[in-house]
Symmetry: D2
Subunit: 155 residues, 4 copies
């Protein structure tokens, strides 16, 4: 058994990322603190990109740029609790020269608990919007649900 | 000099809450991590309610209910950095029987860095939407910008 | 492929838990923020107990009790960076009627980055130290390195 | 009324920093999550240095260096709850060429809830221990309880 970190996997164009709710994620009202869903979403996005072949760490280290969340539309539908097994499902909905758009949902079994529409802007080291690398654009386009009729999410 | 925690103050219907960016708030890209703005917003909302006379801790302790964020629309316009002095400006935009709506912005000097439209639902101990206490509704209505022509925010 | 959350595994008496460093874990100095190692340690402890057969969520839900960290001795030896693959190695060092003691280390490859000696107290719902369930004591004793000569950590 | 962030104040050599417990600080067991005390301690240390005249942000920006926590010894004595008004009391216990040692406690009224002995190392931009600026050493020495018989903490 290897000790490599978990990073989820794709089912068609959809990335799936399972996680457990720990003490740190909850608040005294007994459920997951709303801001912590954003941490879940970001872990899932980072690993979706990793699995797809986009190396964010290298892009930051070599001065190409870094992603920053530019907008987020969130709906909190139902609470998650300590020890719940959750699944983050993410897919690319659009890609532009300097941004990408990702839809994400947190599920427990088949129940949608929280959903997000995320706009991530790619920024140069000085913080200005800048074009994503060309090979990343190709990766995003291949990940979009319409890209491959056989690549539809299995639900 | 007293040692009471800071809780901001109202200027007309607008609550103002100053805070400093600490190590914990930033990430390796050099700026405030996007999810941490939600922690800022929640601190400011909690203290807005406190200053207005709404006691969330008592309502939870006596079984009346607790707020949960139901929806949030976020725009991240410009980054904040370590050691920045920020100001969270919040005002009530609407109140319903079982929810309230609050607009919030994070400012550095007079520059808007991040803004949020927040819907908070009031939940019973079993987690169902429930009516807010009547005296709270009266407080929210008095806080809405249109409530008092003399109460407009000073900008 | 299943979508069950990752929970690490035992090698002899040592629990191993791999994780990735995400944006949320770092600060503007470029490395993992010191307090976030405590979140890593707690995830690993929770999953060590889970894998060993101790159900913390049930114990809380049925009013038996809940763990609280009572003491922690931390050494931060070397920094971890964004995107690092880390391994948390944990083992029980002692167990008393109302507490357990766990040694934990964060490793990148074979380099120890951070280590912790943790005392966790078991508390009744009213917050008083209380005896851990008897079957948990038996589990802890079986997990202690001296318990089984064949159970020594593979390093 | 100004909108400058709160930063606490000195009483003799002791820095006092009041704060409120918010939703984000608690976990489902109903009390402050243990790792979040480290965030409180770090805010208090940062503001202790700020008030004393040590500018960490400038030292980082101009390449002088940055502090990293090297060791921490923590005792969690009693829990804090949502909405509690807490006071962080901090004082310098020792200073060396490349490190400083700070004792910190979290109090509710006069009850000690959590205490920490902290060793902070000063690191060059490449991450190596490096000497703190000379004028900082002078500031630390002036802050040590033995430095001024009239400067003892008022308790």
């Amino acid at each position: 058994m290897t000790d490599a970190p978990y990073h989820g996997h794709f089912v068609g164009p959809e990335h799936r990322f399972a996680l457990r709710v720990y003490f740190e994620d909850t608040d005294f009202s007994g459920v997951v603190y709303h801001a912590n869903y954003l941490r879940y979403f970001e872990r899932a996005r980072s690993d979706m990109l990793r699995v797809a072949g986009i190396d964010q760490a290298a892009a930051h280290a070599n001065g190409t740029g870094v992603y920053a969340v530019a907008a987020m539309d969130l709906k909190f539908r139902s609470p998650a609790h300590f020890d719940d097994a959750l699944l983050i499902r993410s897919h690319v909905t659009d890609v532009r020269a300097a941004s990408c758009h990702i839809a994400q949902g947190v599920y427990r079994d088949d129940v949608l608990l929280c959903e997000a529409m995320v706009t991530a802007a790619f920024l140069s080291p000085s913080g200005r919007p800048t074009r994503q690398p060309k090979d990343w654009l190709a990766i995003y386009k291949a990940l979009m649900p319409g890209a491959d009729p056989k690549g539809r999410p299995v639900t």
